[in-house]
């Protein structure tokens, strides 16, 4: 594996830092309007018809904060593997909920980037985008890096 250039690239600290910044940044960016408008976000959650109505508001209130905190932790390099696990898990849940909604033929808003980029209909390609973001989370989970890539490089033990 050490000789494999792709593997070396994937485990490179700069790649790790980029994955953290992109994944964390996306979640920070998308969570802020949800944090500020839990009522609107709860409506979007309801639209997926995967939760009992009694659970919708609780998820609408708490989920954006989980996204925000885990995103910030990931960007600053605090508990990077745990943060990536949380965000990767959320992405998997989004894919599952989106799949169920699309499989049932629901014509609903995605709620992914609302309201910065307007309302997007939930489509299959959005699920593919979430799957790509999961790869970013996996990179961080497997090869975590701190805030500064150089820190990890210094800490690496000498090769035998």
């Amino acid at each position: 594996m050490k000789g494999n250039p792709v593997a070396r690239l994937l485990r490179h600290p700069v790649v790790g830092a980029l994955c953290r910044l992109v994944l964390g940044g996306v979640f920070i960016y998308t969570s802020l309007p949800k944090v500020m408008h839990p009522d609107e976000f709860a409506r979007l959650v309801y639209g997926y018809r995967v939760l009992h109505p009694d659970m919708v508001n609780l998820v609408g209130v708490t989920l954006p904060w989980v996204e925000l905190v885990a995103g910030v932790f990931l960007v600053v390099g605090l508990l990077p593997r745990s943060s990536a696990l949380v965000l990767g898990g959320l992405l998997a849940l989004f894919i599952g909920a989106g799949f169920l909604a699309l499989a049932r033929g629901l014509d609903i808003e995605c709620g992914c980037f609302f309201p910065f980029m307007g309302d997007h209909k939930l489509t299959w390609d959005l699920l593919v985008r979430d799957a790509v973001l999961i790869l970013f989370a996996l990179q961080v989970m497997v090869w975590p890096s701190g805030f500064l890539p150089a820190r990890r490089r210094r800490a690496r033990p000498s090769e035998p």
């Binding site: 839990p38 943060s83 696990l85």
Partner: protein, 186 residues
Amino acid sequence: MARSLSRKDLRSQPTPSSSGRSTIGSVLLGAVVIVVASALLGIVANRLSPRGIPLLPPSAEASGETPPLALPAGVLGIGLEDALAAFHARSALFIDARPENEYAEAHIPGAVNIPPYSFEDRYLELMEQVEEASTIVVYCSGVECSDSIEVAERLLEIGRADVRIFEQGWRAWVGAGGPALEGPQP
């Protein structure tokens, strides 16, 4: 040479090969702490926020068919049956708050199209008609959309009194066999 590595060196590079069950456990524990702490933070922030919503919606009773959220203060809702009755009695002006393309596909006959992002322009065009109406019913796609609420709040801001939100919206209307009209004309 690998044997000369200190334990500190190994800890500083938490790759899968150097991490055991304890590392996996600490990652999982960290994830649980993040989720629980963030959720509690969200609940507290919601409690303190003027836009906060009830955690257990009062309207989400057993059937699950009623809208899950309380409407903003001062905004009244109208159910499917009452909306149909108002339509047949011609006692209300219906405003479709969905985007133009969705409105053009089909809408409630007689409904005018005022999406929130073009509220000012559309309202000026339709001002006479809107001001003549005694009751206004605003709708969008369904319970999950907020466009109808946004338009209703704007109407209340400019002094309209009897504004109702048909939360179940267009899908419920079609599902109930309500009349529909295709094209961009009301």
